[in-house]
Amino acid sequence: MEPFKFIRAQDNNNAIAAAAVADAKFIAGGTNIIDLMKLNIEKPHQVVDINALKLDKIETLSNGTIRIGALVKNSDLAYHPNISKNYPVLSEALLSGASAQLRNMASVGGNLLQRTRCPYFYDTSYPCNKREPGSGCSAINGYNRNNAVLGTSDKCIATHPSDMCVAMAALGAIIHVQGAKGMRSIPFADFHLLPGKTPSIETTLKHGELITAVDIPVMSFAVKSHYLKVRDRASYEFALASAAVVLDVQGGRIQHARVALGGVGTKPWRSTVAEKVLTGALNNEQTYRTAAEAALSAAKPYTHNAFKIELAKRTLVRALTTVGGMS
């Protein structure tokens, strides 16, 4: 790890000012950035500790929106009664991620920005476009069992690893950020970027911008929602495939649907095509399977991960069945 200056920020402005220098980074829970710093993948020379900032509240705004401070711990968010009762998909996604200890550390802001677990990204002795733009992608022709099948490019096929983000994508969250030039809000779908030609640029967050909060807009039918994660072992592992599903079924017909996939996409994968199939359709296996086919229709397999396409479909069908039942 490279030496760095450690700064304890006292408030938002303070933090933003400290993070303005070129190679500065915020640190919240530390669970991703310290991991990467130890491996020389992140090399900030100034680390700004934001844990003293007052961003650790979960509030319900007058319009019903839930505002989650960026420093709220993943565990606190998952167990918050409003979330576990009204947005089980989010609670379940959070609880399926990492371990109890890590969830006690990980913040909502940090989770949004966690980086891929592509093994080549993690090993500085291999070329990797995301880590070192232009050096090449070792995964495309390498060992890529855990890489993505959706949203890939010829520069990078890294999976976005977050579970929380998949649920937030389905819920249409809004991310609030504050920078030297003031505040702005970013719809979830616009936050993460596809790798395209520049896999090292992962989000639309600008350098030095601080995430302050995430809003979960009112979605009354989200009471019926579910996150299903499939992996090689029962816990403490990233997803091979996962599905976040919100369904509003009335009288055997799906009125509203929200679908997002994890473990298969280069970003948290909201599937509007699947939602389109579902909306207005009967809640039966046929519908679910058609939606799953649609969701994965653009999928591209690589040497070791072709199975993810079928697995993701089945995961989605199962999640839809669990939430929407069968008529």
Binding site: F4, V47, D49, A100, Y236
Partner: protein
């Protein structure tokens, strides 16, 4: 078996010295012995006086004792405990949040000390395996681990115990399945999982903590 215990408590970093242990058995030529340990960490942290570019001051309460350290900003809480405070009870299994051996309680919550900079712990209360028991007795979780043989090599054990204490406090695990899920951040390669479960259930059932 008090003697084995005493012998090793002597060698473990608190209290007396390695020398006593090593001279128990004379070796050819003798005189091979590691120096007495520095226990007063407020004096000098080994190594830190030398060419640390970015030192940070941090004050934390470790097992009830206030500790003020000046550390290289890169030092994790885990390495501060093991190498600076010479409290090796907290283990390093992976150094990347992937095994749970380094689990300690920070302000009562279980976390991985390998993914926390010591500098982030300003004002925090840290409880490690060395600080769980009060006085001579064992903490109920420690006693239950012994009773149920909830370990083999013992390397994951401090982390398992701190994690189990955290789990009981959190109060989210009622069934065996829930305990198993919420203890999954602590790997035991020896495979003492079943016995760990029994130990936790016993402590939880009688509301010992």
């Amino acid at each position: 078996m008090d003697d084995l215990q005493n012998q090793d408590e002597k060698s473990s970093g608190r209290g007396s010295t390695r020398r006593e242990f090593l001279t128990q058995i004379t070796v050819a030529g003798a005189g091979l012995s590691f120096a007495p340990l520095i226990v007063n960490t407020e004096t000098k942290v080994p190594g830190s006086q030398l060419s640390v570019i970015q030192p940070v001051n941090v004050t934390m309460v470790v097992n009830g004792t206030k500790q003020t350290l000046t550390v290289d900003s890169r030092v994790t809480l885990l390495d501060a405990l093991r190498d600076k405070l010479m409290m090796p009870g907290t283990k390093k299994g992976c150094d990347h949040g992937q095994c749970g051996a380094c689990t300690v309680l920070v302000n009562g919550r279980r976390i991985n000390s390998c993914l926390t900079f010591a500098a982030m712990c300003e004002g925090d209360e840290i409880t490690t395996i060395e600080g769980l028991a009060h006085g001579d007795g064992l903490h109920p979780m420690q006693a239950a681990f012994v009773k149920h043989d909830a370990f083999q090599c013992g390397y994951c054990t401090p982390g398992q115990i701190c994690s189990a204490v955290g789990l009981v406090k959190e109060g989210h695990a009622k069934t065996d399945t829930e305990i198993r899920e919420l203890m999954s951040g602590n790997i035991c390669r020896c495979g003492a999982y079943q016995n760990i479960l029994e130990a936790i259930k016993e402590v939880q059932a009688v509301k010992l903590i």
